[in-house]
């Protein structure tokens, strides 16, 4: 079936004119119509517009244009601004917000011929690890609809897993691509901070946010990242480093690859999770990789550090949502203060408010040094330890999450337990490193992810290692029941 094909195979069919982009788009729109009422992966479906874009892609194909993504449908996380289509960021605050411009990622994929099927559900302002903080209701995990898909890019992950689109975009601030990729059995990559432009991404924590891809294989992810990556003069934190040919690097053999095993990732790891990682390591060793034990003594500070830095930045980033120029405005404000208080009070959900309050607190006079400054120091230590580790190893390998997908509602009232879900992913964000999660087996019938972390700008190596693993295994080929 079309939805089982890789991006490369679909591109071949399109370039050989065996199918049209309109046909392909209709196929995926039909799947969305069939499955999404239950899964709730989309906040806004853009079927009509998708067909127009597909027709345009077909014209380009007929003119002899070709490209690895030309005419291939996708879903954008609803955090990317899309010209003329609502960008809600999963929040009541932006329920009525239509951006007048495209994010750089959106513009680049549009230029590459991508056909947008819709905007994916997500935790409100990307704050959450289960997609349950969305104003538009939770996304269901296609492997078990009583389970969460992870978050914050839960809609993108679940839609990719359920084959509602060949690929989807996401953003990752503390694990928001890798954790849901793991819990839904797909491949997700968060590139190096600065690799992909943040322009047009509704900001959560500016020093941590990075856009990436959900796909069903590392090879597909490489194709998409190729189109997304690169310097953007509109984002001062994007880095002017040339983008290597990710696809060309995929076939490189792994002989001699040095994989670091982080003591801190394995300490107290649940036995079945550990067994999956061990089995994966055996595959890597069979491919010629060597493993080395390494330790990052300050890595356990990741979660507390993150929960100071990210809320601090978000408390400031979200100040622009004041009911004055766009977004939600309360009914009949009495005065300015009332306008502020009620617009923000009614427009933001509980988790967002919790983080704004935490962030405001840690930046306040008298607390700044004890929290924000201390967290910056811890962040520097963690970054330095990663850097040191990469002098001896090429990649780090470990689990993506402590457990498989948990039940909807199970952790909603317990933010700390929820936050600990990102214990393995946050380090890469704090240090700005590329990280990838890919399927490596199942626990209780639910997919589990394996995480690879590389040094800055080593996406080619990370994707190469993942691709070689996927050539030797078929975990990434598994389809949730009912979505074949």
């Amino acid at each position: 079936m079309l939805h089982d094909l890789s991006i490369g195979a679909l591109a071949d069919l399109l370039n050989e004119r065996k199918i049209s982009s309109v046909e392909l788009t209709r196929h995926f729109l039909a799947r969305i119509e069939r499955y999404d009422p239950v899964l709730n992966t989309l906040i806004t479906a853009t079927g009509d517009r998708a067909l127009l874009e597909a027709a345009d892609a077909d014209r380009r194909l007929r003119r002899g244009e070709s490209g690895p993504l030309l005419g291939i449908p996708l879903i954008h996380k609803d955090i990317f601004c899309t010209d003329g289509v609502r960008t809600s960021c999963g929040s009541r605050m932006l329920d009525n917000f239509v951006a007048p411009y495209d994010a750089t990622v959106v513009a680049r994929l549009r230029a590459a011929g991508g056909v947008m099927l819709g905007k994916a559900n997500m935790d409100e302002f990307a704050m959450g690890s289960s997609n349950e903080t969305s104003y538009y209701g939770p996304v269901k995990n296609p492997w078990d609809t009583s389970k969460v898909p992870g978050g914050s890019s839960g809609g993108s992950a679940a839609a990719t897993a359920a084959r509602l689109a060949p690929y989807a975009t996401g953003t990752d601030t503390g694990g928001s691509i890798r954790q849901p990729a793991a819990l839904t059995g797909v491949t997700g990559i968060k590139p190096t901070y600065g690799r992909v432009s943040r322009y047009g991404i509704v900001a959560f924590a500016s020093s941590l946010d990075q856009a990436g891809v959900f796909a069903r294989s590392a090879a597909d992810a490489a194709t998409v990242l190729q189109a997304m990556a690169g310097f953007d003069e509109r984002d001062s934190t994007s880095v002017d480093v040339s983008v290597p040919d990710y696809r060309a690097a995929l076939e490189q053999p792994l002989a001699g690859l040095k994989i670091g095993l982080l003591a801190e990732f394995f300490e107290g790891l649940e036995a079945r999770n550990g067994a999956l990682i061990e089995a994966a390591l055996a595959v890597f060793r069979s491919l010629g990789a060597k493993t080395v034990d390494v330790s990052l003594p300050h890595l356990p500070l990741s979660v507390p550090t993150y929960y100071v830095v990210a809320p601090a930045e978000c408390s400031s980033n979200l100040s622009r949502f004041d009911g004055v120029r766009f977004g939600y405005r309360c009914a009949e404000p009495k005065d300015l203060m009332d306008l502020y208080k009620r617009s923000r009070g009614e427009g933001f959900g509980a988790e967002v408010k919790r983080r704004i309050m935490t962030g405001t607190y840690v930046l306040s006079a008298g607390y700044f040094d004890a929290y924000y400054l201390q967290a910056q120091k811890a962040r520097q230590l963690i970054t330095d330890e990663f850097r040191a580790a990469f002098t001896g190893v090429d990649l780090l390998l470990g689990p993506t999450t402590p457990t498989p997908a948990f039940a909807l509602g199970a952790k909603v009232d317990d933010p700390i337990t929820m936050y600990l879900n990102d214990i393995y992913t946050i380090g890469a964000n704090l240090a700005g490193l590329p990280g990838l999660s890919m399927p490596c087996g199942f626990i209780d019938g639910l997919p589990m992810g394996l995480q690879l972390i590389g040094p800055h700008f080593s996406e080619a190596r990370v994707l190469n290692a993942a691709h070689q693993f996927q050539q030797a295994t078929d975990w990434h080929m598994q389809t949730p029941q009912g979505y074949a």
Binding site: G200, S206, S236, T237, R320
Partner: protein, 484 residues
């Protein structure tokens, strides 16, 4: 009454004369219709990011070099967080702990001629806010974001000024300098150059500063002087009547010439400054600094010293003539035409007739009809005795209103000086004949009547008699015995 010492420090905001804003591409021109010069960045739309305007940095560095300051090779942009409708992001991007310009100074000349050095703690780059408009709107306020994002250089002095006059002298000095450097148009009515004054008093001899009040937004030299004057007596009155000055922010009411409380220290915002994660640290390389240094014009003090040395002008004259680049250039053009030996004459005319006409009619020196060439032509006629200094003033007035050159006006109006001794003698004789009584009195010893005769002759010649010749001849004639 105790002897009080006044302590003043100024924070001057100079709007940098860049074409576009500090973090967006929108234009900075003054007076456009509301919100027509506000880009998505200025409106703080979700997803947009700031990109630093290199020209603003260049201007800040230029200022730093001109005051002999240190240019920080690495400085940090920070967010100053507070809610206000004309502050679209909910924070202002400014520099807090590490400003781009650090530790410079400027010399001012006090009334008694002594030179005083005022320390400049720092100058930092920041963005301006928009404007709230409360007039003409029923039950609502308007927001104009044209000014939002306009680049400002905030120049913070040490508390080195000891009187309102010193504060004004310092502010004028900075005003002169920023216009010399062409980094600010200095237009105070449009708010391009304004200041906040920190004012305190202490008993003379007490080492510790008194409690200060900050007077916000003073946009004329006169207001600075009046506001400080008012504030000083207010504080002295409080202390002398047994009260305590409280630290607060005050507003100056230019109608009532008084300051009134805006907010106390307790009510002050906690701005929660932290480094802006959207902007990398500003790193300035030695090459950049050297390139900016090469563009520095001759500075006011250097020009004044050169005028004094080259042309033998007094310190006062040299200071006045170097107060603006345009005035200095005008003066030098006149001197170039009349010769350095006549520089004093040129100085007198530029500072006298020309400056008062400029002030009287509110004309910019660049658009005066009396060009440097025309003024030099006029001075040449004084020097060669074609006209007297007094007649020259009439010629100047004609040049001022009609333009043209002095020779043409002298010829057209018949103003050429009478230097023919015989002609003058004839007039003297006629005057003596017509005034026998005065003549007799003079000869009886009333020397004061000499002036009367000069006046009569001048009247009869319409002021054209050469004054020196007239004096000489008149003395001879009046002193000799009664004529035939």
């Amino acid at each position: 009454m105790a002897d009080w010492e006044v302590v003043i420090g100024l924070e001057i905001h100079a709007q940098l004369a860049t074409r576009s804003k500090i973090f967006s591409g929108a234009a900075t021109a003054y007076g456009a219709s509301p919100n027509s010069q506000a880009s998505l960045v200025d409106l703080a739309y979700p997803g947009v990011l700031p990109v630093l305007n290199a020209e603003a940095v260049r201007m800040a560095v230029k200022f730093g070099l001109a005051i002999g300051a240190q240019i920080a090779t690495r400085s940090i942009f920070a967010r100053k967080n507070y809610f206000y409708p004309d502050l679209p992001k909910g924070y202002q991007i400014s520099q807090y702990e590490e400003p781009v310009v650090q530790r410079g100074s400027l010399a001012i000349v006090l009334d008694d001629g002594t030179v005083k050095t005022v320390g400049i703690t720092r100058a930092h780059l920041e963005e301006d806010a928009g404007k709230s408009l409360h007039e003409g709107l029923a039950n609502a306020s308007g927001i104009d974001l044209n000014r939002a994002g306009t680049p400002l250089l905030e120049i913070v002095s040490e508390p080195d000024m000891r009187s309102a006059k010193e504060a004004v002298a310092y502010m004028k000095k900075v005003h002169t300098l920023v216009r010399y450097l062409e980094i600010c148009d200095g237009n105070m009515q449009e708010g391009s150059f304004r200041c906040d004054a920190n004012v305190s008093v202490r008993p003379r001899g007490q080492p510790k500063f008194g409690t200060r009040a900050e007077i916000k937004n003073l946009n004329s030299f006169r207001f600075v002087e009046k506001a400080i004057g008012y504030e000083v007596s207010r504080q002295i009155d409080i202390i002398e009547s047994g009260g305590k000055v409280i630290q607060e922010t005050r507003l100056y009411d230019s109608d009532k010439h008084e300051t009134r409380s805006m907010r106390s220290k307790e009510e002050a915002n906690d701005y929660r400054y932290f480094p802006d994660p959207d902007l990398l640290p500003l790193e300035i390389e030695a090459d950049f600094i050297a390139a900016v240094r090469a563009t520095l014009p001759e500075l006011p003090d250097e020009k004044a010293a050169r005028f004094a040395a080259e042309f033998g002008l007094s310190a006062y004259d040299a200071g006045v003539l170097s107060a603006s680049r345009e005035l200095g250039a005008y003066f030098e053009a006149v001197v170039a035409a009349v010769g350095a030996a006549n520089a004093k004459l040129a100085a007198n005319w530029v500072m006298g007739e020309l400056s008062s006409a400029l002030n009287r009619d509110g004309v910019e020196i660049g658009s005066a009809k009396v060009t440097p060439t025309a003024l030099a032509g006029l001075l040449a006629r004084i020097l060669d005795d074609t006209i007297s200094g007094k007649i020259a003033k009439d010629v100047f007035e004609a040049l001022w209103t009609e333009g043209g050159d002095a020779d043409a006006i002298i010829a057209a109006k018949g103003l050429k000086q009478i230097t023919d001794g015989g002609a003058i003698e004839a007039v003297i004789a006629a005057v003596m004949a017509a005034n026998p009584k005065q003549l007799a009195d003079y000869r009886a010893g009333k020397d004061k009547l000499f002036g009367f005769f000069v006046g009569q002759v001048m009247k009869a010649t319409q002021g054209k008699a050469n004054p020196a010749q007239l004096n000489e001849l008149l003395k001879q004639k009046l002193g000799s015995e009664p004529g035939p």
